[in-house]
Symmetry: D2
Subunit: 385 residues, 4 copies
């Protein structure tokens, strides 16, 4: 069907409707469609929603994996249920199976480092000499920048800066502690404020508040190597009996699959994800808890390691260098997200990342075991007789 109306008028029209219902009614009539479920699922107060041209809400099934026992850096031991929003069959069951193996082995150890949320503006100078001078000025005036940044929000602290120069371009990476929020918005505001100060003091122009040196929502080695938001590691030693009983494979087979897939396979594919499926768990966890879904990109990078210990047990670990997450702000305000967060019961964003780390490890363990099982089955059926 080709619309006969003038599309530029149409744009004005939709924007001009005042209520969600009016927009929905218009679309239903205009396009001859029914939008009743989008309406029905709309449980939030619109004042709390930051989404223009709103017509209602979309839904995702919410399952719960776990519980998972997590020990953190301070040796606190807690059990958590893990809400996961997904339409991929077997994902919740798979994470739950991983949790079971983990719990039977005493629980996952999870560590978090608060790298800081980053914004990376680009300035333009007249050439290298000025670029080098700007870099020096920035190093010399860190405290000035810090004070300026922290005027913009009481929840934000400037942690450090990193600078790279390419000719007339100076890229500056500001790392901020954003308290309990993921914080991209406050970070952008603070960076904008810093940029103006720099411009005012140095007379060097800021080209763009983001020069892709953030690097926001793009797979990038800078995030992998230097981290962004939070880094998380988690590990576990799985008893060989548990590998056999719960995961239906052996430590040796698990290790072989891991090596062939997560290491050599990732290398030969030019991958930044040396893991089995971090993104699956990160996406489902983010969707459940109100995180920005485009940050799944950062969360897909990282490394799973594995080792058969001398006593035959299986060591497995995960490392995600760039987790962009918060317990306040953004999508976390939505009612269903608040409820999911209450299921987890993390007291702050660091604890939330600890749980995520555990959940991702559980997911890796279960999928890699499944792949090993599958091979078994496969080999058995075809070659075994």
């Amino acid at each position: 069907m080709i619309f006969k109306f003038n599309p530029t008028n149409r744009y004005m029209t939709l924007k001009d409707f005042k209520t969600t219902k009016e927009r929905r009614d218009f679309l239903e009539k205009e396009l001859r469609v029914r939008l009743e479920n989008i309406s029905k699922a709309h449980v939030d107060d619109e004042k709390t929603i930051h989404c223009e041209n709103l017509i209602g809400s979309t839904t995702l099934p919410l399952g719960v994996a776990g519980p998972i026992t997590v020990k953190n850096e301070e040796l606190r031991v807690k059990s958590y249920f893990i809400p996961l929003a997904t339409t991929e069959g077997a994902l919740v069951a798979s994470v739950s199976r991983g949790c079971k193996a983990i719990n039977l082995s005493g629980g996952v150890t999870s560590f978090v480092e608060n790298v800081g949320v980053t914004r990376g503006p680009v300035f333009e100078t007249s050439g290298l000499r000025e670029s080098i001078e700007l870099k020096k000025w920035l190093d010399d005036n860190f405290n000035l920048l810090k004070v300026e940044a922290e005027k913009t929000s009481s929840h934000l602290k400037l942690k450090k800066i990193g600078t790279r120069i390419a000719g007339t371009y100076v890229y500056i990476r500001f790392y901020f502690d954003t308290d309990q929020a993921m914080g991209m918005n406050m970070v952008t505001i603070a960076t904008d404020s810093i940029n103006r100060l720099i411009e005012s003091k140095t007379k060097i122009k800021c080209l763009s508040v983001s020069g892709n040196f953030c690097v926001d929502k793009k797979p990038a080695w800078l995030n992998f190597l230097s981290g962004r938001g939070k880094k998380v590691w988690a590990d576990i030693i799985l008893k060989k009996e548990i590998v056999k009983e719960v995961l239906k494979t052996t430590p040796e087979k698990f290790f072989d699959i891991w090596l062939a897939k997560c290491m050599v396979g990732s290398a030969i594919a030019g991958s930044l994800g040396f893991n089995a499926h971090f993104a699956n768990i990160v996406a489902a966890f983010f969707a459940a808890t109100g995180q920005d879904l485009a940050h799944v990109v950062e969360g897909s990078m990282g490394i799973t390691t594995s080792k058969v210990l001398k006593n035959g047990d299986l060591y497995v670990s995960i490392y995600i260098p760039a987790v962009m997450i918060g317990t306040v702000g953004g999508g976390t305000k939505l009612k269903t997200k608040q409820e999911a967060l209450s299921i987890i019961g993390a007291k702050n964003s660091l604890e939330l990342v600890e749980v995520l780390g555990g959940a991702v490890l559980a997911g890796e363990i279960s999928l890699l075991a499944s792949l090993a099982e599958g091979t078994l089955a496969c080999a058995h059926k075809k070659l075994g007789r």
Copy 2:
């Protein structure tokens, strides 16, 4: 709060509840939380849902951008509204602004290439000689594999294979046409079937049905360079007057920001995304239309180009090499997703990708213009007087 219960028992418990309500009731009582909105938002029939340990549904605000006028390869011109599920303020408005500029310039041109959905198992041989032989066998027996694969589904066709060898490891990338579905499930089943045939014929063992040579849900150069699912390109020539009126900047400033950010900035950050924010639009579009959210990872890679033409107009294009999308199967079955798909009104998955291409281009145009505007404002306030 540290749970006193035995977590391994708990795992059994949750799984053993028979209904969504029972699970919810248990969690509410056990954790002393309220899950009423997760319940209220649950509009789907559970039989259609593939999510274990289901407790209800989570929600995301749904806005509508556009309409956008799209011309495809066959010169068909259509206008589409673009449903976007997001909690990022300004995203829908920004895409809409991009659509307006596009429409006023005659509409976006969008091209799609069906690369094929891929699965990349890994086989293990006794060494290079056998690895090379396996590669030759695969090349010689493509039709055999094709017949075997296509037995598993009438919706699936094996398009081609690519093989890479590293010592005893042989990685095989199967490219499938999956009709209107994103198709990872059917592709996995077909690959498993092919693998068994290969094992049976060659006596070489399949280590894993996925050897990260797919590359599924990980940022990877193999996907960037060879494509996965669909490739999409979109472009537009924006009249300089429209750039000024709608986008509040100039073609020259737009180009400068693009160059500093998407090109040099991405290079100096080791990014696989040479773009402004593909992932934002891809994530919101995927969440609205029921795609697998972990595939946002693939959709975040790609290149935006820009050029000031001799007559002063602005050329902008986008290229995403790996779009994993479908109009049937997976999350598209959910009621709210069906409604969103009905708003778009695409007849098939290729058309859906054409619309996505246009939406991403609109998003790039608007954000890059905003960054240029911002700089203007910034420069004006601080340096202009």
Copy 3:
């Protein structure tokens, strides 16, 4: 010392000298330096040398590793001495040690695939529609292009083409068989000729005969994933006794070091070289045999694999996806290079690559073993008491 002369005049001066001796005399006088060894080492007839402003020759020590026993795809078994030009102490000895371990284990198996030397020009169109049309035209007219290319040299064949589009840019990768030569020059001439034909037929302008889609002398995933020049693989099963006696370590320790360094270490460093030191052997072999030293870049990429077999023996393999090498043309014409090539005695460039593959494997085996030894020593000294 700051020159007082006008540098722009000086440029003219040096170029205008007619003989190597005159240039040397001038520099000796002007800069008050002695260049006698550069003169003494100059053994070639200048007519065969392609180097402007020639003042003589520089030298590199030449050692000989091996012999190494190599079995190729056709099961031919031969032994080769390996000339290596290097100033890195221990490199020749290390490769020799690797050769010894290899020979005692029955010799290396080496496979070569002639991918083809590539040139990647970039064309500029008016937009996507024309870009797509150009791609189709290229696919439809491959034979036309092939005929045109092969007019330029009887030693050259066009094997295939690959095309990528980003907006107005169309990148075309031509793969050529260049017979016994590395062949970049003939490939550039052929590509230029093809480009003119394309321009003439399609009226689309070639922007540059190289659009970095070659990718010449730069580390790039395109070369890693698709190959360039020749791909080479080599492997060996080292008896555990030989690992102990010749390499002073155990298969298990060797494997552990390989995993920690070549796999996880390379991953965590964002490396395209999943190996221990390919570049060392490639550089020394290239310098000895007259290859273009800038092509060491391509040769540094690739993967070493390792495995402890069930019987306790050690499997090791190497894979280099982009070897740019020849036995005729370029630097191979120099007298000292001819002599080094005569030491190897390879009948053609494929055989030369087979030997290189073996040499690289020998180098990997020896260095990884040394690292394992070192650790032993290290651990022994410090922790052993």
Copy 4:
């Protein structure tokens, strides 16, 4: 020809000869080859040579480009001739042409940052908790490590350390100031000494003195993003008249080629070299001045930028993040290298890198201009009638 001798004996034989001449004689007789030029070109005293199984020397033609006028950070202005060892016709002439354009525009500005030469060992712990503890111990005991390292050489200083953790693996990157030497050897010795101290104090085992976290002689994003050895930048504003007269093109055409090739082309090829041909100049400069040729790999990475200024002039810059170079030690001791270094006349390694930066910029300018010219010619011949 297939050797009849026992290759394992042969290995022993070659090693056991005592003199270069004896080895050469043996090979000449055994292989029926003539090695007179390898002998003739052998000008060095063997005591200064670190190359086992030495049979003589190989040669490379040495040309001289320039002079080039270089201004450094301290505003010192000097002119340098640039010795380049190469067999690629046109390279020296091309760099010379670039130098001419640079000199006529007032000389290149060249900046160097001494990042430090790096070694990256890997330690193995029992798990994450111990890994995190080791990282903290390292941070707390930097001065202890520094003192230990600096005991091993008076020419070496430990500048900083960087640590990354993946499960049981702890990668530590030590950055050393190595004075005038490239310094890999002294850095390895110092690292080995530090490693033993760490093992002794923490009882954690060093797996390998190099864990590919150095990253030595491999293309890697860690080197690109964090630098290795020296970083160098160089830039110039070329008057538009000079672009026309000397480079036979226009600033606009130059810019277009640069954008299509070094930016979009590099992006679409997954390249770590966003430049035209850094590796050519780096390889020729390294071969002339006695650097380790495998370090051409590091020197091939980096970014060329370009811009048409408002007055129509052309700005061009280069940035190489990882230059591994020295003026003493290694191959610099060879007589022909000493003579080449005397032609340059750099007082220290920083100055040598400044000259290299200028030479690379000259090479980029000339090649990019040639590509623009070529297109002109091409377009003219085929489309102009």
